[in-house]
């Protein structure tokens, strides 16, 4: 888009000048308010401390008066409120400064009624009212009316307002480029021009942090972002289709104050594949003017639920890629352990456990405190709605009450015995402590469920597995052998957490009302069943691409399984088949690995992917740098491979604290969900990519590239790679 001399240019420039003047005036007012508040706050703090709080604090322990405490608390509260006001002003200033750089990015002219004047609506990242607070000069992109911009071309249109569906005619749809408060240009958009605008934006280099896409949200993306009708919204999106952007913008949308029931930041949890990805997406919500929401990984949730260290997904990937039969066995077990069948087996185990636990009499002071029959009847109390773990906990509390009632008499006995031995009180108390300690250990063996032990018992007891697994397809050779003190394998941790939830229902604390799961294909049905237990009241947004599953084959049936596991009243699946990331050539090459998959490209053109020998690696890196690419990722299959290359090339490895700048090595498992200007995929030989399932890995790695892709091997390329290059017309260079 070249700067355009449009007949409306003077009017648009005048409008922008008026808006900027208003913003500057508001900014000046807010800054003056801030200074006043700051001065007032300092005075309040000084006065309160010297005149009131300090004497109160000094005499507090002596006074012990409740009124003093109340008074003191009120004093602190008043300062806290002033502080809150000041923070709110600071936020307002930050928002206005952002607004001044680019107040709006679009305009729509709407006709609601032939007899009414047409309405001009400017759309920006946040709203701006006129001085009387009567008219909105800029509409927030999340406002219902703004959806017309994203969903319609000129002609009849409609949007959903709180009072219902509103129809209108879209007369004009205009997009602006405003940088640093300067009107660079604008154009009246139809679909074609929008594509060229998009292409120009997408031709820019990748950045270390994901950016917002409010200017370029597509119709189907907007539908996903604004969906409020479904408790479970699933988005199957091709690589580069903007799934993660949708997830982040949806989070921002759900926090929009114009909604009937807007969420607060603490109501939303984003479940991301790893901490590198967390860092990558962390800037989007603040850029949209919203507070950051909590992000977590499945591993972190499991560690919190179990209180045990849990293996990371990247560590599991390394184990699955290790040479030898152990990796193949683990891969097979992983598929089963994350399946719905395993969840059913665990359900049956949890239901059967009250009958399976070894009960024994519990004695104290030479008497039976509770017989094994009594303990068993507590555990098997089917009239109770509480799960087994809760029933046993109640039993423990009940038994300690009995112990405490017996304790004075018992202590008399111990004191008398100590007296006979010529010992004193401490000796008798020591005996009581020893005796109680033994009893506590004994009681805990009965009333506390040892999850690792119970889980291990299930997997290693073939007779039990056969009995509980009736009608289920249970593979041979299941095991659970974690290294002592080492992390629990991820799939076992999920299963143990699921079992724990079944045995002692304890949802994640807090008020999470929306869980956003990214890279949905990396979670199995059992993981979703667990999420359902952890967040029973939440709605879910699940975005993923079944073709990008690294660890196991996944198909569209995954979404049916997710829907069953999360069991929400209303669910919908949206499919996004347009890729905005890669050039046409890179996408075409990548798709050769997945012949059954069809993805539309935005038709942005670039260089053909190349197959190069390792001897040309340094030359290719230099060529990428000469192009001005800011992130050049050398992707390896595993971390071990990356470390080997690190020795050769002395390049940094991408991690949580490494910026995505310049040239770096990154293992495939960490590159998921990210994008780089150039991708140099290393070790594309048969040893690394010789198995049929490696197609998916190659697809994932290749589709990380925005502009340039080259594949490297020492000697012959893997047949999969050769075939893809032949089909895509990419030449192998000698």
């Amino acid at each position: 888009m070249e700067p355009t001399i449009h007949p409306d240019h003077p009017a648009e420039q005048a409008h922008l000048t008026m808006i900027l003047a208003l913003i500057q005036q508001r900014l000046a007012n807010a800054q003056a308010d801030s200074e006043k508040q700051l001065a007032g706050l300092a005075d309040t703090r000084r006065d309160e401390f010297t005149e009131r709080q300090e004497p109160l604090l000094r005499n507090l322990w002596a006074a012990h008066r409740f009124e003093d405490l109340v008074h003191l608390s009120q004093e602190f509260q008043s300062a806290a409120e002033e502080e809150k006001d000041h923070e709110s002003t600071l936020r307002q200033i930050a928002g206005l400064k952002k607004l001044a750089r680019s107040p709006y990015f679009a305009r729509i002219d709407l006709r609601f009624d032939e007899e009414e004047p047409d309405e001009t609506v400017y759309i920006g990242r946040r709203s701006l009212w006129d001085d009387k607070k009567e008219n909105l000069l800029i509409h927030d992109w999340r406002a219902p009316m703004a959806s017309v911009f994203y969903r319609f071309g000129a002609g009849p249109a409609f949007y959903q307002a709180p009072m219902g569906k509103i129809s209108c005619d879209l007369l004009l749809k205009r997009q602006y480029e405003i940088q640093g408060g300067r009107l660079i240009g604008f154009f009246d958009a139809d679909t074609v021009i929008q594509d060229s605008f998009l292409r120009r934006l997408l031709a820019q280099n990748a950045s270390a942090q994901m950016k917002s896409i409010v200017e370029t949200i597509q119709k189907d993306q907007d539908v996903a972002i604004r969906d409020e009708n479904h408790d479970l919204l699933m988005v199957q999106g091709a690589a580069g289709s903007g799934k993660t952007s949708i997830a982040m913008h949806r989070a921002a949308y759900l926090m929009y104050e114009g909604l009937k029931n807007p969420l607060k930041a603490h109501n939303i949890l984003i479940l991301s594949p790893n901490t590198v990805f967390e860092k990558y997406i962390s800037g989007v919500l603040p850029e949209l003017g919203e507070s950051s929401v909590a992000t977590s990984t499945l591993e972190q949730l499991l560690e919190d639920a179990l209180g045990l260290p849990v293996q990371s997904r990247a560590e599991r990937w390394e184990a699955l890629c290790s040479p030898g039969p152990e990796a193949a066995r683990r891969r097979e077990a992983l598929t089963f352990k994350s399946s719905r069948v395993f969840a059913v087996l665990l359900d049956r185990y949890a239901a059967a456990l009250p009958r399976l636990l070894p009960y024994e009499d519990l004695c104290y002071a030479g008497k039976t405190l509770a017989s094994r029959q009594e303990i068993r009847s507590w555990a098997m109390d089917h009239s109770s709605a509480s799960p087994l773990g809760v029933r046993l906990h109640r039993l423990e509390m009940h038994l300690w009450e009995r112990v405490h009632a017996l304790r004075p008499a018992r202590f008399d006995q111990l004191r008398m015995a100590a007296f006979r031995l010529g010992r004193g009180e401490e000796y008798a108390r020591g005996c009581a402590i020893w005796e109680s300690g033994v009893l506590a250990r004994h009681m805990r063996r009965i009333t506390r469920l040892n999850l690792p032990r119970l889980y291990s018992a299930l997997l290693h007891d073939k007779a039990l597995l056969a009995r509980l697994g009736k009608g289920l397809d249970i593979p041979e050779g299941l095991s659970f052998d974690p290294v002592s003190g080492g992390p629990v394998p991820l799939e076992d941790a999920s299963a143990m957490a699921y079992l724990r939830m079944k045995l002692s229902f304890s949802p994640t604390p807090g008020d999470i009302r929306q869980v956003v799961v990214d890279e949905a294909q990396d979670y199995g049905p059992l993981d979703y069943a667990l999420l359902n237990q952890l967040f029973p009241k939440a709605r879910f947004t699940v975005v993923g691409d079944v073709h990008q599953s690294l660890e196991r084959e996944a198909g569209l049936s995954l979404y049916t399984q997710i829907s069953q596991a999360l069991n929400r009243p209303t669910a919908a699946l949206l499919e996004l088949n347009k890729s905005f990331r890669c050039t046409r050539e890179i996408l075409n090459f990548s798709l050769q690995f997945l012949p059954d998959v069809s993805i539309q490209s935005l038709n942005r053109s670039g260089a053909m992917p190349q197959l190069l020998p390792n001897s040309q690696l340094q030359e290719e890196i230099a060529a990428c740098q000469a192009q001005g690419y800011q992130s050049i990722a050398l992707i390896t299959k595993t971390r071990r491979d990356a470390e080997r290359w690190q020795q050769v090339l002395s390049l940094p490895m991408m991690g949580r604290n490494a910026a995505l700048g310049d040239v770096f090595l990154v293992p495939l498992s960490l590159s998921k969900g990210l994008e780089f200007d150039a991708v140099l995929l290393l070790d594309c030989d048969e040893k690394h990519y010789g198995a049929p399932e490696d197609r998916r890995l190659l697809y994932v790695a290749c589709t990380r590239a925005l502009h340039r892709l080259a594949l490297f091997a020492e000697g012959a390329f893997a047949p999969l790679v050769k075939a893809a290059a032949d089909l895509a017309g990419s030449a192998e260079k000698p």
Binding site: F411, A428, A440
Partner: protein, 94 residues
């Protein structure tokens, strides 16, 4: 709540035979024998007018765990239960 740590550390230090100021919350006290645990428990009970539950005491493996448990019992006491009188306390042991 006033800082009870110095007092608890002093009690434990006396029993362990180390100066209280060298103890830290993570310092292990798992070498305490049952009679020493009893001495520490009785001293804490007298110092803070609380009752420690015998079954919990063997699980207190660090100086910090002792402080936390004493705090918990003080909170329980202040939560509505009247603090035991000296007479009541005497009756537990004699």
């Amino acid at each position: 709540m006033r800082d009870i740590r110095p007092t608890v550390f002093q009690i434990l230090g006396d029993i362990l035979g180390v100066p209280a100021d060298v103890l830290s919350p993570t310092a292990s006290v798992s070498s305490l024998k049952y009679q020493e645990m009893a001495a520490a428990a009785i001293a804490c009970e007298k110092a803070f007018h609380i009752e420690l539950e015998d079954e919990r005491i063997p699980d207190l493996k660090t100086a910090g765990a002792w402080v936390d448990y004493v705090k918990e019992r003080i909170a329980d006491r202040d939560d509505g239960r009247p603090a035991p009188t000296d007479q009541e306390r005497e009756s537990w042991y004699y």
